[in-house]
Symmetry: C2
Subunit: 217 residues, 2 copies
DNA sequence: GAATTAATTGAACGTTCGTTTTATTATTTC
DNA sequence: GAAATAATAAAACGAACGTTCAATTAATTC
């Protein structure tokens, strides 16, 4: 056989991407063979090469798309306001929502960096750095205008990102916690980390005030 | 040739472990071949099979040893005292020191779990859970006796571990920060996360008080 | 110093890998 | 409806993979 009835390049490419994200996230880039991927798509291995010249091109494409989507989501969610607290809330909320929604591709972008060629690694890391810089800027400005009390802005940013991204390790939708609940708790922990605690009220009450309400400001 | 002069089983096995930890941490388990590993050790691939029946046996052995060492280190470092704050300080200090010291094997134990058979995965996860439970217990007891103010003990424990382990992603010895400095800052952030802030003093002053002093109590 | 055991080599096994090539069929164009 | 193009299958490539086996030499035992 050759071309199959109803075959369509765009649909096939989308199917390849989808299957690749799931398989690579589950088994790892090196462990997934082109034949296994092709079987999942319902196609022969050779067909994959019409869309991606090499296996690494496929990986790079998935990662690049992931980072673009992350930066795009933040661009859509970032508030016009310049109030650091509002911006931090938006950042955390967007980060958690995005990473829960895109758990498989997040896994890939975090774990498979070492399978990229040096040039492509640099390219992906540049996007990641740009995204992280947004948080550092928020923390620094909030620190300067007295909104936050932070010892080390760089370290706090890394700790925050590490903490937030860690959500994908244990979070399973439909279990004990909802996305909103998780976000609420992580916002609370974030505010503690940046020193935005004033006094004696419990943190539960404190953080119920921001979040959803302030997010859409 | 066959047996080489000066060859010694114990030394060879140690050399294999050492090389395997470095190579797998850098390139990933699937990406490292037995031949590549053997070359690094200075031996033929077949020689590896005298010490590890399969490649997966080797991986499992490395991970198991890592977890044993982690639990062992905590057992040595855990204070006799029952004061939650002192225990938390000891836990954080030990965790950061251990993970900086064992960055390669930490990487492996965090990233290569999916390459283990189900039974062995369970075995390793059991050790990890035991280690994490220690932290949850500290947080819970500190929460009960009023030392800490925590919304969700389980989530805070996960956030803390994620945050602390994240140190190995960016920390390079001999750069801007010393191990002591990093530990200081992370202790400060930890105390904030568990709600052990009282009032208006800056966090720098606050956390300089604990750490080194309280650690050896 | 002969016999035994420990450690390793070198070659080979069958399998799977990423990738290429060629042929074939479906779809689109005119 | 013929010509051109797009999408795939089928088969094959050499290379590399994890692993096994027999032969060989070093060290140890008695």
């Amino acid at each position: 056989m050759a071309r199959t009835t109803g075959s369509d390049g765009e649909k096939t490419e989308a199917a390849i991407r989808e299957a690749a994200v799931e398989l690579i996230a589950r088994y790892g880039y090196e462990a997934v063979s082109m034949r296994q991927l092709a079987a999942e798509v319902g196609v022969q291995a050779a067909a994959l090469y019409r869309y991606f010249p090499t296996k690494e091109d496929l990986l790079f494409s998935l990662m690049h798309e992931h980072m673009d989507a992350l930066l795009g989501a933040w661009n859509d969610a970032r508030p016009a306001t310049s109030d650091p607290t509002t911006r931090l809330i938006a950042y955390v909320t967007n980060h958690i929502a995005f990473h829960i929604e895109r758990r498989p591709s997040t896994h890939i972008s975090n774990m498979e960096l070492r399978s990229l060629s040096p040039e492509r690694l640099t390219q992906v890391l540049k996007l990641r750095t740009a995204y992280e810089k947004e948080l550092r800027t928020i923390l620094r400005e909030g620190s300067e205008d007295g909104s936050f009390t932070i010892e080390d802005t760089g370290l706090t940013a890394m700790a925050l990102i590490q903490m937030m991204t860690g959500v994908i390790v244990w979070f399973r939708p439909g279990e004990r916690l909802s996305v909103a609940g998780v976000t609420e708790t992580y916002l609370s922990m974030t505010m503690r980390l940046v020193g935005r605690l004033v006094g004696a009220t419990t943190s539960r009450e404190q953080n119920h005030v921001h979040t959803r309400a302030e997010l859409r400001a």
